[in-house]
């Protein structure tokens, strides 16, 4: 068969330097006297969205071709791409989905770290696409997968991904262009030459000995014991040893009610009970924000050098609700009732913007944190214990006749979290599900209600306006 153009498809996100990668490839092909064509989709398509660059290189020099010019296409064709390079795992997945990666033909060079799309990030729960499936598809669909995780396997997060990809493409040997020519292209571009050359070398190394691609292990879902241990630790820190004892006592009741085979149920109950008992209030926030090790963590995260002072400012805005929460039950209830009637719960706030690295700012945080013993006598504490009991009661009653239902009720604890509006919305959803589905099911000892509770819980996490939940509840 006569020679055909090699087709290369680069998938990137706007702003990741995919254009520069294409430019380097073109420059290298030109320097090697190979006919080349590249094209891209310009304009707003490149504002942070997914974009592609497409190149064709003819594997014979202009000199050898004489006057003949190969005909180049402007689009990749499914099943007819020789090399796909992707800066990120989901974009590699997008190329696979489109049929550009095939076992007959395609070398797939891709970074397998994740940059999440807005639609994945904005979900109320966990909206991330299943990375393991993309990785599996990459390994199955490519003739030659060269996959690497820059963010994990080496501490090289600062390596420009486009130059690493260029190195891996060069190192794969799929293009008839020598290493030195690629490196010269980087030098000639005059852009961050040193770091790009280093990244290129890393890419070359990766292609020579492709690492076994491993995703960051899906966090081992801790077993029941580990969760209970963590819960005890959390609650001792949050309140005191007696509070941790209460946690264990509550769990013992559930265990007794669950009897045999309640493993998953106990684990999830232990998880959400600990989280619920350690509900978020100003005292807790102040405690977390005044931890001695916190500043070191922030310094590491932002890459501050040892000699550089760092000032931290908090976006901390307690309001009437937070004040009412830490008052004793009577005045607390009175204040929140009054604020509710006047419709000013969301109006009055104290924007502290406090600077936790100053002495006064830190002192204020410490004072708030020191109110911990007071919490037990607060309005919110009493309220939360009641809610917790109602929830546990439901879990235990369900456990008596249907473990699956009990498990789903336990998982509803996931809905109650956060601050302000988030907490109000979550609690509202939780209460709606309890009232509309759980309590009737318990009254009827309905063994078929578990699926409905699960659907409703998922609906509650599907949209913040509660439309999906209303529809789900109406449908049951």
């Amino acid at each position: 068969m006569s020679k055909r153009p090699l087709s290369l498809l680069v998938a990137a996100l706007g702003g990741e330097g995919g254009g520069l990668l294409a430019d380097w490839l073109v420059a290298a092909a030109l320097a090697a006297d190979l006919p080349v064509q590249s094209t891209s989709i310009p304009g707003v398509a490149q504002r942070t969205g997914a974009t592609t660059y497409y190149l064709e290189i003819f594997p014979e020099t202009n000199a050898a071709l004489g006057g003949k010019r190969p005909l180049f296409a402007l689009y990749p064709t499914p099943g007819a791409v020789d090399l796909v390079a992707a800066t990120e795992l989901l974009e590699a997945g997008r190329m696979i989905e489109a049929g550009f990666v095939t076992t007959e033909r395609t070398t797939l060079v891709a970074g397998i770290h994740r940059v999440y799309a807005t639609i994945e990030k904005m979900q109320m729960g966990d909206g991330r696409f299943d990375a393991a499936r993309v990785l599996e598809a990459a390994q199955h669909m490519a003739r030659r997968p060269i996959l690497f995780d820059l963010t994990r396997e080496r501490r090289t997060a600062a390596q420009p991904i486009n130059a690493v990809l260029l190195g891996a493409i060069a190192g794969s040997g799929e293009l008839p262009i020598a290493r030195g020519i690629f490196e010269q292209a980087i030098r000639d571009s005059g852009i961050a030459v040193e770091s790009n050359l280093a990244a290129f070398a890393l890419g070359w190394e990766i292609a020579e000995k492709p690492p076994v691609p491993r995703l960051p292990l899906p966090r081992l879902s801790a077993d029941e014991r580990a969760i209970v241990e963590e819960g005890v630790k959390r609650l001792s820190d949050y309140q005191d040893a007696a509070y941790a004892q209460l946690y264990l006592a509550r769990l013992a009741r559930v265990r007794a009610a669950a009897g045999e085979g309640g493993g998953d149920l106990l684990r999830e109950t232990a998880r959400y009970l600990a989280l619920w008992m350690a509900y978020e209030d100003v005292i807790r926030v102040a405690q977390l924000k005044s931890r001695p090790e916190r500043l070191a963590g922030i310094r590491a995260e932002i890459g501050a050098k040892p000699d550089q002072p760092v000032h931290v400012r908090e976006f901390f805005k307690p309001g009437l609700a937070e004040l009412a929460a830490i008052l004793p039950p009577r005045p607390g209830a009175a204040l929140s009732g009054w604020a509710e009637r006047r419709g000013i719960v969301d109006r009055l706030h104290l924007p502290l913007r406090l600077r936790s690295t100053t002495v006064t700012g830190h002192l204020l945080l410490r004072l708030l944190a020191a109110m911990k013993p007071w919490r037990r006598r607060s309005h919110r504490f009493a309220e939360e214990q009641q809610r917790i009991e109602r929830w546990l009661e439901a879990v235990m009653r369900a456990a008596a006749f249907d473990t699956a239902l009990a498990f789903e009720i336990a998982q509803c604890g996931r809905l109650v979290k956060g601050y302000g509006d988030t907490h109000k919305r979550g609690l509202g959803n939780f209460t709606a599900i309890m009232t509309a589905l759980v309590e009737p099911a318990l009254a009827r000892r309905d063994r078929s209600a578990a699926a409905a509770v699960k659907r409703a819980r998922e609906a509650a996490l599907a949209d913040p306006d509660g439309n999906a939940l209303s529809r789900a509840l109406a449908a049951e």
């Binding site: 310009p42 550089q308 400012r313």
Partner: protein, 710 residues
Amino acid sequence: MERSFAKEVALLRRGDGEIFEGEGILAITKGLLQAGVSYIGGYQGAPVSHLMDVLSDAAPVLDELGVYFEPSANEAAAAAMLAASINYGMRGAAVWKSVVGTNVASDALSNLASAGVKGGAVIIVGEDYGEGASIIQERTHAFAMKSSIWLMDPRPEHQRFVALIEKAFELSEASNTPVIMEFRIRACHVHGRFRTKANKPPAISRKAPLAAPDFDYNRICLPPATYLQEKQKIERRFPAAIDFIRAHRLNDHFEGRLGDIGIITQGGLHNSLLRALSELGLADAFGASEVPILALNVTYPLVPDEITQFCAGKRCVLVVEEGNPDYLEQAINALLRKADLNTTIIGKAVLPMAGEYTGEVMLEGVGRFIEGAVPSGVDLAAVAAVLGRAREAKARAAALLGAPVPKRPPGFCVGCPERPVFSAIRLVERDLGKINIAADIGCHTFSTLPPFNLGNSVLGYGLGLASAAGVAPAFGEKRVISIMGDGGFWHNGLTSGVAGALFNRQDSVLVVMNNGYTSATGQQLIPSSTAGGRRPRISIEQALRTMGVSSVRTIRSYSVGRFARALRRALTTGEKGLKVIVADGECQLARQRRIRPLLRKRVAEGARVVRTRYGVDEAVCTGDHSCIRLSGCPSLTVKDSSDPLRVDPVAHVNNDCVGCGLCGEVADAAVLCPSFWRADIVQNPRWLDRTLFRLRQWAVGKLTPAAHAA
């Protein structure tokens, strides 16, 4: 400008027989100069934004030749500029994004086409159709037909289309008719090579000025001259064009072994067609096809005898024509009918009526044509195998992936000054309920995508306010919001929107995004750009006041709380009439490009520079992601929680953060949660910085218990 072509414009000086290697956009510019163009106007817009950038950067080359270039106020202005070619033998060119730019230009275009031209008039349009397009999907073809303007769709091969640019001017002059030359998105950005010719200094130009004005009533668009002009179009210009196209072989005819079938294609799709044929084993890598091909570099008008000669003796001919309606397929069918030829024309029966002809679509369509036409001497099993392979790859991939990969449309950049405006609108909606928002064209149209989903209609560039005229009164007491970018404001929004709203006493709220450039198209300058003091700056706020808008407020867009308060006031105040808020904040892409090297230099020089970063306390975040729904910043993302109890990922600010502060502002204004912090890092600290910091650390250490079991 987002992209500089300062280095590449040297290519524009290449002389006879030299090799040019570069982007399509540059090659088009070179083609214009080789053709002796005298003046050029245009308006930016993908995919021809960079053509405007190249021309701006090419000022020295243009000056040497005496070529005049101006970035026009809008496409209508650019089209009107071609008036110079009506009376004088000057070659002129205009550039814009189509179909939208052609829509805006169409009044001037109709008049230009009716009057006819003496000097060649060529309009370069970027046909923004298909993958990567940012506008409504229509064809420019209809404009050409209704105004009798000739339409060229050249093969995307540098040597050929550069030669055709020169031919376009000649065609225009030979038929006294303007010519539109369309380039598809990928063709504009294709990197290729061709052999150059020396630039031709224009016959009439700034360097060789006109002596006296020329008056001819027959070139004025007023009856009775217009009746004469319409007749001329049909009786003289149309036949002259057809003669020229035939005589100069503007269309390309390629012979092929399989003589009983053929393919007629738009020139712009020729390479995609050839690739499909070569995948199917019916063409080689150099463009030699077994199927005869007629590539139409001129798609309007068709040359009747070219079509009939090509089809005569063929059983079946495929027409490859992108988009709808299928003008070419209809016209070819009509021509064959008139010539009493029985060749079967297949077009949209195997290729889709709507959508771009990508590699996949072309392969599938051409394959199905071959399978149906059954030409003698073709191994159909091999064709079926190729088609099957492509289909199977997608099916296998879908099964392995399990679900469609989430879409990743473009969005606001990190630190974009337009994002906070929509965060503020979301906050105001929490109190006032949903508000009708007349959106506009620009980066701000991204507000209609997740996470904001704000904007009820988009009617065209600069038409945000105008598009609220009917709906505003219909909402009664509840005011509506219109959005307009500064680009759209100067393009036409000032008159079509603001003047109209004032004149008609519209009671609504307008938000003008003042980011300093037409940023979606790549940061070209507009009248309110400061451009480092090189241009006189016209203030938007002043323009509004001069026109009589009594309620104008300019607010820094990042101050979400302030912005939301101002917006709430404008929506609820008893004061009637138009209320304008100018959202002030420079395009962050442009800003970062400007200040980053500057700051780096200052740090290197040892100056005290404070860097700001935002972050999230992982232990405080509960993983609800409200902050993301109110911001959508790419640097505000999620990560696994390190807390074994929590299953949902927590919010996290990554290293792309430019410290605009929106996430903190939103958390504060929306009273979301106390997870956000802002850190100011003092680089090259002074003695006082260091001492104060140490003192504070010592004191804070005294206040803090040693272990964290507090």
